[in-house]
Amino acid sequence: MKVLYFAWLRERVGAGSEDVDASGASTVAELIETLKARDPRYAAAFADLAAIRVALDQEQADLEAPIAGVREVAFFPPVTGG
C-alpha cells in the first residue's frame, strides 16, 4: 500500500511517500509497529502516538481502524490550517 507522511512526520521519516508491504499488519497501530521495527527514523517519527493522526483512503480514521483493502494510508500531526 501507499503510505504518505506530512509536516514534521515527513521530515522525521525523510520521505513524503513510499510503498510499504503491510502484509501481517491488520490495523493502523500494527502498521506503525511494522514501520518502527524497520528503521530508527520511524521509531523517532512515531514515538508519541498521541500527536499522530491518520487518514485511510483520504478519510480520517483512528489507530485501531482495520487497513484491509486500504490503498492509501496517510500519517500527519493535528491539522493547523486556516
Binding site: F6, A7, Q58, A74, P77, P78, V79, T80, G81, G82
Partner: protein
Amino acid sequence: MSVRVQTEDFDIRAEIDVLTQDRADIGAVVTFTGLVRDLAGGEPISAMELEHYPGMTEKALAEIEAEANARWPLQGTAIIHRYGKLSPGDRIVLVIAASAHRQAAFEGAAFLMDFLKTRAPFWKKEETPEGGRWVDARCEDDAAAERWRKS
C-alpha cells in the same frame, strides 16, 4: 458551492461578485479572511510555509461546505485556501457565506472556519530567527468546532 486550494492570492471583491451576480435573492454576504501575522508566541515570524494533502484537502473542504449548506439556508458559499510560502500580511484563507438574511450568513461563515481549522489537512511551518517551527494545534480551535456539535 466552490472549493479552491491554490498558491495564488485571491480577490475578495471578485469572489463576492461571482456568488452574487445576476441574482437578487441574497440579502447578506459574510466573508472571513485569514492573514499571516508577523508574531507568534512572542517571536517574530519572517515567513510561513503551508503544506497540505492534495486530494484529501479538497474532499474535506467540500464535505465541510456541504454540511454548512445542509444546516443553514445558504444561497452560496466559497472556500479558498492558499498553500506554499507566504509572508506576513499575506492572505491565507477566505470563506464566504451568502444568504437571504444575516444570521445564517454569519453562522455559516463561522462554522466553515471552525471546521476548516480542525478538519482540513493543512499544516503551517513558521520561519523564526531560531529556524523553522511547525505550528501546534490549538485546543481553542477544537472547542470552537465542538460548539457546533448537535446535541
